[in-house]
């Protein structure tokens, strides 16, 4: 469980990224923070692994204030996927995936075999393990980024616009893959994006942010669509536009959400998901 307890972040120059933000994320849930740039969403996410320290309030993981945890230890226990994959260009794909196990002193052989298994798990051929990141496509690099984040088998996965830099087709593939992985692994996912469609696709809970980290609305995608809190949310999710006139259809036992043109836009799941 991750809990933001009245956190705020003001930079030394006087810029306030986040005013006063509180949110509880249950274990095994996938929560998406969505907002435009300046909404403080990335700042909030980076408070979880202490890449940013809040200037007020606390962030707690399983009721323990992260401010009291050694940042290096904390970061190794939390998976982090970033937009530009952030792979080390001078290390092979397998070495990149094995970054944290190697730092933790796991033997080279064991780290490597684990890395290769993880590559398969994220849908990559294990033979790519001996390539360098620059020899992979953008989509493949993002998959490697996900594999790396999973390498230490963390409970929490932080994802900072992980699919923001790939083309729409690859992005859709990666999103689907993430949903599959999540259904198998049941991690606690905190996902950040500016793309409301992605937010509704990935998030069981979606938190729409106004500038300064103010919560405009939070709830399941269905709740938000059914009852947008105000004009800001309405324009953000694009209600009233044809693609938000959605209906549900049952396809092979799944509640598939279709838009006005009968184009499927996502899957509704009810109840517990673990």
């Amino acid at each position: 469980m991750i809990r933001f307890d009245h956190v705020g972040k003001t930079y030394p120059g006087g810029t306030t990224a986040v005013e006063d933000f509180s949110l509880t994320i249950d274990s095994h849930a996938s929560v998406v923070l969505v907002g435009t740039s300046g909404s403080g969403k990335t700042t909030l996410m980076r408070m979880v692994n202490r890449m940013v320290d809040p200037t007020s309030g606390r962030v707690l993981i399983d009721d323990e204030d992260v401010a009291g945890v050694d940042p290096v230890k904390l970061r190794r226990s939390i998976g982090y996927v970033m937009q530009a994959s952030g792979l080390l260009p001078h290390r092979t794909v397998a070495e990149n995936v094995a970054t944290v196990p190697l730092l933790e002193g796991v033997s080279r052989r064991r780290s490597r075999s684990r890395a290769l298994a993880l590559l398969e798990m994220v849908g990559l051929d294990h033979r790519l393990g001996d390539r360098y990141p620059s020899q992979l496509s953008g989509g493949q690099q993002q998959r490697v980024g996900v594999a790396r984040a999973l390498a230490s088998d963390p409970n929490i996965l932080l994802m900072d616009e992980p699919f923001g830099a790939v083309d729409p087709i690859v992005r859709a593939e990666l999103q689907k893959e993430l949903l599959r992985l999540q259904s198998e692994l049941g991690k606690t996912i905190l996902f950040v994006t500016h793309d409301i469609d992605e937010a509704f696709l990935i998030g069981e809970q979606v938190v729409i942010l106004r500038p300064g980290g103010e919560i405009a609305q939070q709830g399941t995608p269905a709740e938000i669509l059914a009852d947008p809190a105000d004009d800001f949310v309405e324009s953000f999710v694009g209600s009233g536009v044809g693609k938000r006139a959605l209906h549900v259809d049952e396809v092979s036992g799944q509640q598939v959400v279709l838009d006005a043109g009968d184009r499927p836009v996502g899957v509704l799941r009810e109840g517990s998901r673990s």
């Binding site: 980076r46 692994n49 890449m51 290096v72 230890k73 904390l74 970061r75 190794r76 226990s77 982090y80 970033m82 530009a84 994959s85 952030g86 792979l87 080390l88 260009p89 001078h90 290390r91 092979t92 970054t99 944290v100 730092l103 360098y132 990141p133 620059s134 020899q135 790396r148």
Partner: protein
Amino acid sequence: MSQLLEAFSWLADPTRWSGTDGIPTRLLEHLWYTALGVVVAAVIAVPIGLLVGHTGRGRGLVVALSGAARALPTLGLITLFGLWLGIGLKAPILAFVVLAIPSLLAGAYSAVESVDPRTVDAARAQGMTEWQILSRVEVPLGLPLLISGFRLAIVQVVATVMLASYIGNGGLGRFIFLGLQLQDYPQMLAGSILVVALALVLDVALRVLERLLAPRGAARG
């Protein structure tokens, strides 16, 4: 032109290539002084440069100091240090250290600064300590720039080490200063040719090393 020919025939004389004041001995002395100056400078400048590059702090100060150090005339420094430390190796080596520091410093901090900040951010977010980020990410990726700092420092010092002979030391400068005193211009010219050749050889060798040590993945990209 005839003096140039005479210089080459001076170099071709086999008696110059042996003995305690022969070319090989002077060459080794020359290399030894260079190595001494560059190593001492590196011990001072490289850690500071890496630290400045990693933390981003003190960059302005370092740039200003490097600029000032570059402007110092080395012969003046040797004379000054010579008056202070006396005849011997200490004064010229100290001057070469001052000469080598700016290039090494610039090489070290630009090596670290050249690394994509997103790569560094990712390394930190994975849980690398600051030391691990520096030693496993920034230094390997910035290695070509770090070596090019060494190359510039070495070439500069090697070309300047002849001044060590000005206050009674060995090195290839001996031929130059001896030639000057005796008005034996072919010898002077021969000494200069040797210094220039040495600088060029070292420059090329270090450029090759830069290529070889470029990080593999980045080189292919």
